[in-house]
Amino acid sequence: MRNTFVNALCDLAEQDERVWLLCGDLGYSVLERFSSRFPRRYINVGVAEQNMVGVAAGLALSGKVVFIYSIANFPVMRCLEQLRNDVCYHNLSVKTVAVGAGLPYGTHGYTHHGIEDIAVMRTLPNMTVVAPGDPVETRLATAALLAHEGPGYLRLGKGGEPTIHQSAPDFQLGQALTLREGDDVAIIATGAILAEAVKAADLLAAQGIRAGVLSMPTIQPLDTAAVLRVAERSPLVVTVEEHRPVGGLGSAVAETLACAPGPHARLLTCGVTISPSVVGSGAYLRERNGLDAAHLAQRIAQALVGAPSAQPVR
């Protein structure tokens, strides 16, 4: 995803002189293709995220569209007040890009896990929160965030994510993308975990359970119409995210359902729930959190019959 993002940004910067890229001394072997082509619009600000956001705001107040790049929660939490006051309060075109959000930096440990970032970012005023599900969505989301005036957050995986979309979908900020039709259960996934959700739907199909799959690349603003549509058709809605369910997609969907007149589906939220002290690779941590395809299929099948093991993993 990170390579797709940088390639897309290079293409966009070729056309649009307003595009700048700042990084917080991270992105080695990835950002060079931008910095070598556009050296006057690229700055490594050093290990200083607060200043990175402030400088980006100053550039944006002078007419630039600034992408700021770092990993996991670094460009979100260390500089949260700069994002809130300097960027969102002023409604500036600063786009925060977090690479390796979720669990891809697995063995680096909890300091490198971006699993509360959606919760934080979606509460900020004027902020558009986007977590593409595959490289195709990444390319389209990068262009869409550039075209959108105002703050944006692009939450990316790391590298090697499979391509899910065989052709470019009609990508619009704030709109869900339907990947599979099926009304026995509706799976809504955001971010790079989408691949596991699609595989889980395949496993369920083999058991005769027809699972619909929605990719929800935009979490703020949420496509509430799409959520309500599937919640009316299916008895169970399942959210899947590499993030804590609290404050993330699970919460966003729960808020939507709770505010809607019933009857509608029950909700199963699947996210990161185990202790931050568990050590392992991204794949291992997905398994431990019940977020790999096999566990997801199992949890969904159990939830459909009301079994207690559908509860969050501990």
């Binding site: 006057r40 050093g46 607060q50 200043n51 402030g54 100053g58 107040l61 309060y89 002023h90």
Partner: protein
């Protein structure tokens, strides 16, 4: 393009005003700020009064190349009041300089007003909403960088408090501005030696402050922040050294201009009552040349 204060309007075409007119400007700003915090029962008057002479020379003395008739003029100088809590003097200065009607000042901190208690963008002449400390200098560095990239003559002036320098974000920006040789960036420290809980020396020592700026790669000069000639001399030609950003450590007195507020921590918080306001205004009146 000199700034257009009442004083400069009277002297059409003048690039700078006389020292007396910046004194008048400062006296008017002090009086208005006192009336504003009195009406609103607002705090931070001491912080407003300590920096008023700096603002008077910047706006009333023709240092800033701004035009109240065109607040969005792309090549204007940018001024950021990073110590946004000193909003009373900040707004009063902009009104005195002609950016918006003086009458707006009567609405300071009132329900439904355009003027909240910390300086806020959207008010003509305000470049950045501030209030939380440590934000102005990084944003100013970004503006200076943009101006240089665009070949714009715009310069960026950021006024910081001393207590604010406790924030690490400033030192990130100080490193950054020197590394990138932002000679169109000027940081002015209103060094009144008092922060929220007591003296700077007690709470978090900054001295030797000028040496810190120099060690970080800035050209730094110390001045008396109430001496208009010294302020004008320090700010009229920047950068002080080619290839370096400029820092001015302005030694000031919190509450300057009102005898019973000077150097008193309490006036970081208190608002003058009717008698105190009358006495303060009378003292400012006495300052006027006979």
């Amino acid at each position: 393009m000199a700034s257009v204060s009442k004083a400069t309007q009277k002297k059409a075409g003048a690039e700078t005003t006389t020292q007396r007119s910046t004194r008048e400007f400062a006296r008017d700003v002090r009086a208005r700020a006192l009336q504003m915090v009195h009406r609103a029962s607002a705090s931070h008057i001491g912080s407003s009064l300590s920096m008023t002479d700096l603002l008077a020379v910047l706006y009333g003395g023709g240092i800033l190349r701004v035009d109240p008739a065109r607040p969005d003029w792309p090549e204007r100088d940018r001024f950021i009041l990073s110590k946004g809590h000193a909003a009373a003097a900040g707004y009063a200065t902009l009104a005195e300089a002609g950016f918006f009607p003086i009458e707006w000042l009567d609405t300071y901190c009132q329900d439904g007003s355009k003027l909240p208690g910390h300086l806020t963008r959207g008010v003509p002449g305000v470049e950045l909403s501030t209030g939380s400390l440590g934000h102005g200098l990084p944003v100013g560095a970004g503006m200076a960088l943009a101006a240089r990239a665009d070949g714009s003559p715009a310069r960026v002036f950021v006024l910081l408090s001393d207590g604010e320098l406790d924030e690490g974000s400033n030192w990130e920006a100080i490193l950054f501005a020197a590394h990138h040789g932002l000679e169109n960036l000027v940081a002015i420290v209103d060094y009144n030696k008092i922060q929220s809980f007591g003296s700077v020396a007690e709470v978090m020592r900054l001295d030797p402050l000028a040496e810190k700026w120099r060690a970080f790669g800035w050209a730094c000069r110390e001045i008396d922040g109430h001496d208009h000639a010294a302020i004008a001399e320090a700010l009229s030609v920047v950068p002080h050294e080619p290839g370096k950003p400029t820092a001015i450590v302005a030694h000031t007195i919190k509450g300057k201009g009102v005898s019973f507020m000077e150097d008193q921590l309490a006036w970081h918080y208190k608002s003058p009552n009717d008698e105190q306001l009358a006495q303060a205004l009378a003292e400012l009146e006495q300052e006027k040349p006979q």
